[in-house]
Amino acid sequence: MTSISQELREFGTKLLERRGALVEWSADDEGSAMAPKELANLLHADGEIIRLSTQPGGEGWSFSLASDFLDTASQLLEMEPRVGAFRVDEMYLKRGDLETAVQRAFTWLNAKVRLLDTQEVRIEYHTWWFHALLVSEDRWETRFPISINAASGTVVELPNLLDLWEFEPHPGANQQPPATYQQAVREAQLQLRKMAAGFFDRMDGRLQRDKKRLREYYSALLRESHQKKTRGRTQPDPEKLAARERAVKLELRRKNNELDDRYAIDLTLNPIVLTRMEIPALAVELSVQRKRAQKNHTVYWNPLLKQLEPIRCSGCGRGTFSVAFTNDDVAPLCAKCSG
């Protein structure tokens, strides 16, 4: 049994059991499920017993990538919620010299900053798991998370929160629709630039190659048409020649446009799940003096990262540790936006 077969079997079994089925595997690749009527109907089973197999084309429901297994599974998953709310009650919070920690973490480019206060708070972190599909002349897809501090809007690179052993259900969680989605999509775009760089390069390369091929082909046609005129006994009509040349060039332009259309990339970005994880953190309140203006800003010490989170740039929205401030409203800017 291959590792994939094993994974498909485990996934399918869990899915069936969540829908109330009793699953039993009599062999590595054969089993059966006693399913509630509704589930049996959904799986087009004749009775309550559904035969299971890990072989493509096996009897009953085939847990194979070569079958429609995943399509059927997605129907079963439709009823499963995609948003989860959890909490971690206690985590280690830094008690030591936060002022020094702030000084070490940040570079203040044009303002005087001093620490006013620190306070233990509970912060909700939103982790958006995305499925990204890039479709062009070829296709590429991936799955990845974006985590955002819902209080500051800062994107933070967190470990997988669902791997934390300390978390618990959070039935009393904030049920407001999450407002971090747009930020997450924007960050996802930025990250995809790096993740899909190879795909982009391939498409760029292929497009260039195809355009070169077209150019050469139509150049050859043009050359041929010119050669023909010298072979003939009589000179061909110059107007006809010019018309042919125009037609070839027009055709080349049309073909190039077709290529541009064919290679245009559509990125479909869909959220798979959202975890709202509330964890304890330290809010560090800073007083920022920029010329005559003054404003307080809060940065967060994150117990999962065991370090301060960056400040969110008011220009581009990305986190930064190298911070300049605007003159009037003392808004933070990253070095790029301030430059």
């Binding site: 291959t2 590792s3 994939i4 077969s5 498909l8 996934f11 890990t54 194979s64 990538l65 995943l70 499963e80 995609r82 989860g84 709310a85 959890f86 306070q119 509970r122 909700e124 798991w129 062009s136 296709r139 897809e141 991936t142 799955r143 500051s152 809007g153 669902l162 259900p169 959070h170 969680a173 049920q175 629709p177 407002a179 971090t180 747009q182 930020q183 999509v185 924007r186 775009q189 982009f200 390069d201 498409m203 760029d204 390369g205 190659r209 195809d210 091929r213 077209l214 050469e216 139509y218 245009a264 990339i265 970005l269 869909n270 959220p271 799940v273 959202l274 304890p280 008011s314 581009c316």
Partner: protein
């Protein structure tokens, strides 16, 4: 529930902080626009059951596997470079070809690796269970070793016992690696074709290009879901070969043979397709061909040098006597009798008149003309070595007493002029590993003796050896001996890139075969300059042939694969060997032969010009569509 003293920060940032909106359209570095279609987010009540989320995530992960974006086969490989074109090929076959593909990469670009990656991917995903790999006999051990050491796959090679003749072996063994000749033999044909296979891989699939052969019939009759055909030369002589291969893959894809000929084969020019655009499109559905230009695979340069050996004394006499004799036997005796000028008395060889005299004593019916096959064998043998010639002459015309003095003369020659050249070359080669190719077994045996006498260590790889002996020879060459004597059989499929010098002690008349030889060391993995030395006797057919190939079409400077394209442009579309023989047959003396070769050289030049012309158009027409 908040812990005492903790404050919930409930204000979410978007209310107060301006959020930069996602960019609905941006561009790749090369300027291709990217349009964003983002879902509308997730709403609804939150669950506190983590299993729901994990199932969604797992479903998405498994979906990626299904889309073949994450290849499973790349993990756990040993000593396999991840070359971009190979990985792209694997993805493409998985996604678009549904497990039926002709992998036609140029020699040395790694078809075998691609096939093994695909095989591993299919096995890991559970898409196939029963696999049959058919390869030429000399490649069985190499395939088995690579499958095991690089891909972690254990294949069973059918034992050379009666067990392999029984249906149980083929029906109950899931992963079988067999030589094609072994599988197609009369005793096994039916049992092999009776078993069901999920995947069949045929290496060097050009051996199945002819529908009339057992090779083709075997593959055609195999019960299989998926089929990979591997060959660098899907079209060697005419487009029908391609038709036959593709018919194995997808019967009916190119419709019937008559229909195919009518639609796609230009009358009188069997390599030149009609309706290119349509054919190209059809081929693109079943064939992938990576070319060096496509994958920008820059190999180190290679240099070729022809070393002319001047036969003297008995050796010179031998070639001239043979020439006389073959010219007598090339045409019907009656015609030969009426053409005394065939044996040129002005050459001044006493034995020449003796040959004529003996010929005249024979009746016409006693010795009919030699067949083309016999003639070419003898001419090739004479180009190889007197020992090979003696044996071939004995085999082909031993009953003709006129051959006795020639055979005896050939046997009396202990060292040929080429022998001396070879020894000189090997002594100069220092620490370099040198691969010496020879077509004839007798020549190989002689070279063994020659090197023994000269005290030069060597290993031998020939078609007559067992697999174990062959493996040991390659290993000895890699680790110990400076020289590997190699028959034609060793030229196919073996990786010998640790050597960078190759000696063609004799030359096949088919330039494609010469290219295959050079491709053994001038391929991926070769990091040093490659040196090719061609040995031939002055005024021999091989010397003329080399002159054509090096001077006219600069064969050794061409990229692998191009020579076939050039030769394909020759009028008549005959096989190259056949053309060379025709030149010899049509000429009556050396001067005439020289003139014929000059004319042929002119045709080659024209063919090359035609190739260069059509290449420009081909690149525009076909480009890299089969990538």
């Amino acid at each position: 529930m908040l812990k005492p003293g903790l404050q919930r920060v409930s204000k979410e940032s978007p209310a107060k902080i301006k959020i930069a909106q996602p960019n609905p359209s941006w561009k790749t570095p090369g300027g291709i626009p990217i349009r964003l279609h983002a879902g509308s987010g997730l709403n609804g009540a939150a669950t506190d059951d983590v299993e729901s989320l994990l199932l969604h995530l797992e479903h998405a992960r498994l979906g990626l596997l299904q889309g073949f974006d994450q290849l499973l086969c790349l993990e756990g490989l040993h000593d396999v470079a991840h070359l971009a074109h190979q990985i792209e090929t694997v993805r493409k076959v998985l996604r678009h070809f549904r497990g039926r593909v002709l992998l036609a990469d140029e020699v040395g670009l790694g078809k075998t690796i691609e096939a093994c990656l695909l095989l591993r991917e299919y096995l890991l995903r559970g898409l196939v269970k029963r696999v049959l790999i058919l390869v030429p006999s000399p490649l069985v051990s190499q395939w088995r070793e690579e499958l095991q050491s690089k891909f972690g796959l254990e294949f069973s090679v059918p034992p050379r016992t009666v067990a392999s003749d029984r249906p149980e072996y083929w029906a109950n063994t899931d992963l079988v690696l067999s030589s094609l000749p072994f599988a197609k033999s009369k005793r096994r044909f039916d049992v092999v074709t009776a078993a069901k296979w999920d995947l069949v891989i045929v290496d060097e699939a050009h051996h199945c290009k002819n529908r009339a052969t057992l090779n083709w019939k075997l593959v055609n009759q195999l019960k299989r879901r998926h089929l990979f055909l591997l060959t660098a030369t899907p079209v060697q002589n005419n487009l029908l070969e391609l038709y036959n291969l593709l018919t194995l893959l997808e019967p009916g894809h190119l419709k019937t043979e008559t229909d195919f000929k009518k639609r796609y084969v230009r009358r009188g020019s069997p390599r030149d397709p009609l309706n290119r655009e349509r054919l190209r499109s059809l081929l693109g559905e079943v064939m992938i061909r990576n070319t060096r230009s496509l994958v920008q695979m820059d190999l180190p340069p290679r240099y070729a040098q022809t070393l002319m050996a001047q036969p003297r004394g008995a050796e010179q006499t031998l070639y001239q006597q043979l020439n006389e004799y073959l010219r007598l036997r090339k045409t019907p005796p009656a015609a030969a009798k009426g053409k005394p000028s065939d044996a040129n008395p002005s050459d001044g060889f006493a034995d020449a008149s003796a040959v004529e005299k003996q010929a005249a004593e024979k009746t016409d019916s006693t010795f009919p003309p030699l067949s083309r096959k016999q003639l070419s064998t003898l001419l090739l043998a004479s180009g190889s070595h007197p020992r090979a010639l003696a044996q071939s002459l004995e085999n082909v015309a031993g009953d003709d007493i006129r051959t006795r003095p020639i055979i005896e003369l050939a046997r009396s020659i202990k060292r040929s002029a080429k022998d001396e050249k070879l020894l000189e070359l090997l002594r100069q080669s220092g620490q370099d590993k040198v691969l010496v190719f020879a077509c004839f077994r007798r020549t190989l045996e002689h070279l063994q003796q020659l090197l023994d006498d000269a005290g030069i260590a060597y290993a031998t790889f020939s078609g007559s050896q067992s697999q174990k002996q062959k493996d040991a020879a390659v290993e000895a060459f890699r680790e110990q001996t400076p020289v590997l004597l190699c028959s034609e059989a060793g030229g196919e499929g073996h990786n010998l890139q640790f050597a960078n010098t190759l000696v063609n002690f004799d030359l096949p008349w088919n330039p494609m075969k010469i290219e295959q030889r050079v491709g053994r060391i001038h391929r991926i993995g070769q990091t040093r300059e490659v040196f090719v030395f061609n040995l031939c006797a002055v005024n021999s057919l091989e010397a003329r042939l080399l002159d054509l190939l090096t001077d006219k079409i600069r064969m050794f400077e061409l990229v692998v694969g191009e020579v076939g394209s050039i030769l394909g442009n020759l009028d008549g579309g005959e096989e190259f060997e056949s053309l060379v023989l025709n030149l010899w047959l049509q000429s009556h003396d050396d001067q005439e032969l020289e003139r014929s070769f000059d004319t042929f050289g002119q045709s080659l030049l024209e063919a090359q010009e035609k190739y260069v012309e059509t290449k420009e158009l081909d690149e525009a027409l076909f480009g890299d569509d089969y990538e």
